[in-house]
Symmetry: D2
Subunit: 403 residues, 4 copies
């Protein structure tokens, strides 16, 4: 509630309309298909839902206004994306799902004019989907980006890329790929990476099998993708050669935060269902919601929701102020991913046997939120980065003191 | 390891043979079918696996020797059932899965000679499956047994039972049902319950829809079952009239413990997979298993495995000594169900993206173990019972002191 | 850091000066006396420290400017109080400690002109201390205010109060008391309470023994106080007769938040000490701060600090906007009290044996912060209140739907 | 309870007598002195209490019978030591406290006949106290024994030892010291350590300041000790030269377990006090012990007590069977130390303000148990060792598979 009060009227209005849209247009479809977006229609469904979102005036809240979006800042996105995440199909419907949302954000910041026209414009308008091809199977780039093995070799007029990626979200059906490849150095070296843009129908680009995961709600799956001497012309280098990770950096922090926003919406839905159940169900001579151990779970969820939101707003303020917010986004992501898991788990527990069944969407939500503690950087890698920065600050202070 | 050293040679030998059997005969089938037992063949598969188990001399370790079982005590079952639970299909193969295993245990203790012949013998030999019909949809008997609504009315020569049950494990395909129904009092009253035996093909007994749940590995599903004036002759009253809960009590404690044994096996498998992964995979210039945060998860799992085992053995000793072990089994169940969840969750986290995928069995195991914090009494109900007993003991002591 | 950027320059300046003052004037004294404020000089020390704070321009940041304070809003207090709480003696030095700080806040809002002159003015200027006498020994008002037993009987020209209070912070040496007494109804009834102002030297007011507690840093101790036919004239009724709890409400939310601010400062100090130790100390062939399990504790602390701050700012925004912020302050208090405990505990653990010793201030800090999970409402009571509100909202929604 | 049933009658009898003795002779003295053993009389008190214990037939349950002890195995010690640990002064009274108890255990196993006569016999009979001088200030041997810096140089007829130790428990007033010193290699090298026996009045041995720590109940404090060319004759080398750590190993595992036994007793006392309080106190219209969130804390304590006991018995069985039980003792120590902390913390929380005060012994108990997560190996070091062994087992299995 409080989170909205601090927002401008036009944002609060968009939040309200987004909630209505999700409730009336999106949740019923999700429920009918048990949250499996491919089973529910895949891209056909996406096109229909996005058209409905356009008509309801809630489409692409984050996209630049010149492409029909609402141009919201990070702080403004928070309540809108949370409202969108309330349904697992909401991000697809509003066109705020991973990876498109993060790709739009990055392209708007670093693509040149021609690339904007060719890649960003149709993406922002929802005419195509996209994929971000960075993660590689072992021993390549996973949590540790320095392990990058996909290599781009310079040739006349461009580059030839060879390598294998996996867990590439949205790859199946994407219109184009943003590819991270090594243009310098060897696996294990930091730096030396470059980003490339490549249409999906390029020769040498193959989308392989879907890796089946716990989650089912991301359109286009998590796929293996191989590049076999894929040619990319110089004009499709995104950002500068050798600056791939620096360029991706503008995407990373914000994308982490929008992930948290959406999953917070999903967690809030689980919590709402559980509290409603606790109000209606009786046991041991009492309303379930009046039993102390149930109250504890409800209160813990309220606390987790509030803390996730508060950390999110803090990080968004920093991002909107122009900072990279490395610490704030790592903290909000790590806390948020774990909080969201706890919230859904408590919700399931409150609903007992029913919570384990598909008669309620809780089991489905639990499958969807679990991977978030790994996707976008495992909690352990974020904690390592947070601690490293804290130790570095203390070491600098200790060295200064000794002088 | 230690757990085996305290066992007699014949038990240690059975453990070893069970491990081999699971490894060679059961795990490959489970993996081929992603842990979905119905997809893997259901009862057809069950019959094949049980025949293989008989041939390997590992069938029905808990069943009375007169019916071809090994007649193990609770303490002896622990390592054998853990070895069996290592595969999700192991309990079916060894005939030690819920609810048959608990039903065999109870019938061996309280059925009369005729009932033993008609119901226990074919069940123990694996010729039929069975179901235990107690749980009811709201506002009936769930966590609170006093809410029992299914009613049995006395008629000439027997009883007529009407009511609805749900989450009845193994109902689809069961040869007979053990039914808990109220023969006295009204919903809300403690006591007044009686157990009845009824063949599955009785008039008025209908197995309804499968309730789809997170878990997929229990044969015969979790079903709705309705009784519409189902007639049960007096000879099929199990135990005494009005003593249904007292009778079920002999099943409850042991069944909780065998659940823990099996799930501990599943958790150990998840842990083994994760440690093996941590040994093979490298990141950040180090073997994954040498990174402190991964070591913490590995050590936490080792501690949880050891503590679950130790609590289990304690409770089994009490049960084998003739006690009801109410506290010990509630404690081991509550701790074990939560520990098993933590272990599998850590294992997934260690394996990162792969841990979220079906390329490893971890995601599957996480779906299977989650409901155990609800099934067989939610953690909250067990904690409530544990605390009530502690408070009662203290109150008695305080009153004594005042005299 | 980020927290400061959002503040006005004059607040950031005050934060910086407060940090300097604490570092140079207050920490050395605290360390010399092991955090025991009575041993360090009690009120004599207080007077000296407050004079130094006045000279440094950091005295009474929250008090009305007309009495020499800085008149900061709740949001502005947050970073200043956190800087003050960095030393256990900081709140006394800055005159922002409990209960004076909360009493100043309340009196500024609800005292009449004469009461402001007689009680608030000298309190705000630091000329006297005060106490808030609400909590009673069992079976009186503790966590449950309805149990209030101290009674005020109306007599000519005023009231006669009799009853016993305990855990009255700052009572020994206080110049006056704010007393909560029942003017209507019987123990167990909600409402019927009134607040009274009484000089400490009034007949019938006796400060009894200090209740020795884990914490040692609050001036004036936690005392028993008895009222034996204490006469209070009508003019010293604070707020309206029968509206005692409503009046205290304006104190409650803000006082909870300033508690969190101060303890967060103490926790940050513990964390700083631990990270500094982890930077300097080596073990197992590595800097301590580079070991994964130590990094985990450091990162967890950073997350807890950030989340506490973020929840605090959220609640302060709501309070500054004129809301009662019941949920937001309960949430920030509950989370903050637990987070502060975890942070100090991790800090101790990182420092090993030294962390258990008085060679570092960590053991002292651990003693001081523990009671905060009980003082100002135990976590359980706050969780109960949070859950009750969530359930009430859901019930209202469910009822509306049924119409 | 169950723990006793598995014991022989003479052990159960000793447990019962120990409980009585603690209740009637020891608790009243502890309570009178707030758990500060030096304030309560130090060695004078010790001599009196031990005499009373002798008369009650409960003295030195673990010491060899030839020296007047009861000669109990590890498994048999568990319930007796738990009963002794119920009072903080119990271990001193029964002569089962650290470090004497561990030293007796080790000397009985590795001292030669003359050393037994000169050192073990008077120690076992309670005529003198002893100390175990291993831990060193940074950068010496702390958690990492390889860092050992105290050096013993071979001279005619013996050794000259120089170095500094700290946190040497019981040093002040000890009759003799067991000293770990390096006889080979340099700090950082594994191995090369030797143990020496030295009377406290030897030239060159100085007991320095007491390091004040959170805990107050260990007699003789935690002291700094320096060796300045301390001469030790060859006959006082304990075990073999260069085999210091191997020799200490026989002490390590068992000493960890007896620590857990004693602290479990202390935790059980805290729990008993809290449950008793929850039975007597009312709030919110209910007995405190009937409120769900209090029940959760009570149940969690019961679970933690049971799990600690079960892990303890498991490790003791392994030790009694002749194993080193490295894993089992690390697991029981790590879990037990953390469980004991949780139990006491919950007990304090249940008792609210009173729990923070010295009106109950809970705050005192919380101070005493906290260091146990660091003493005897911090939880992090034990987890590291547990994980290393698990990884090594998996690596061996993986290598075997590859062959």
């Amino acid at each position: 509630m409080a989170i909205d009060l601090q927002q401008e009227p036009h944002v609060r209005d968009l939040v309200a309309r987004t909630r209505d849209f999700i409730e009336s247009h999106v949740l019923p479809i999700e429920d009918r298909h048990g949250g499996d977006i491919e089973a529910a229609g895949g891209d056909t469904l996406r096109v229909q839902l996005q058209q409905a979102a356009r008509e309801a005036g809630v489409f692409a809240p984050h996209a630049p206004t010149e492409y029909g979006g609402h141009g919201l800042s990070m702080t403004e996105r928070a309540p809108v994306f949370e409202a969108g995440g309330y349904s697992l199909f909401g991000p697809t419907a509003l066109h705020i799902g991973a990876p498109d949302e993060g790709n739009i954000h990055m392209l708007a910041l670093i693509a040149d004019a021609r690339q904007r026209e060719e890649f960003l414009a149709p993406l922002a308008r929802g005419e195509v989907r996209s994929a971000f091809a960075m993660t590689e199977p072992a021993p390549g780039a996973g949590s540790d980006p320095a392990a990058l093995t996909t290599a781009a070799e310079q040739v006349a007029g461009g580059w030839r890329i060879s390598g294998t990626k996996h867990f590439i979200t949205g790859a199946d059906g994407a219109g184009f790929f943003i590819i991270m490849a090594r243009t310098e150095g060897a696996p294990g070296d930091r730096g030396g990476a470059t980003m490339f843009l490549a249409p999906a129908d390029s020769d040498g680009l193959t989308v392989g099998r879907h890796i089946t995961t716990l989650d089912r709600a991301m359109i286009g799956g998590h796929c293996e993708v191989t590049f076999d001497e894929l040619f990319v012309p110089d004009e499709n280098v995104l950002g500068e050669v050798g600056q791939g990770y620096a360029g991706a950096q503008v995407r990373l922090g914000p994308a982490r935060m929008t992930h948290v926003m959406r999953w917070l919406g999903a967690a809030r839905r689980a919590h709402d269902i559980a509290v409603d159940y606790a109000v209606r169900r009786r046991g041991f001579g009492s309303r379930l919601g009046d039993l102390g151990m149930v109250q504890k779970m409800i209160a813990d969820n309220e606390i987790d929701i509030a803390a996730t939101r508060a950390l999110l707003m803090q990080a968004c303020h920093e991002l909107d102020s122009g900072g990279t917010a490395d610490d704030a986004t790592s903290i909000a992501k790590t806390f948020g991913a774990e909080a969201v898991g706890r919230i859904v788990d408590n919700a399931m527990q409150i609903c007992g046997g029913l919570g384990m069944s598909e008669d309620l969407p809780l089991a489905r939500l639990s499958r969807e939120v679990r991977p978030f503690r790994v996707y976008d950087g495992p909690s352990e890698v974020h904690r390592w980065a947070i601690a490293k920065r804290a130790v570095r600050r203390a070491r600098t202070a200790a060295e200064k003191e000794q002088q």
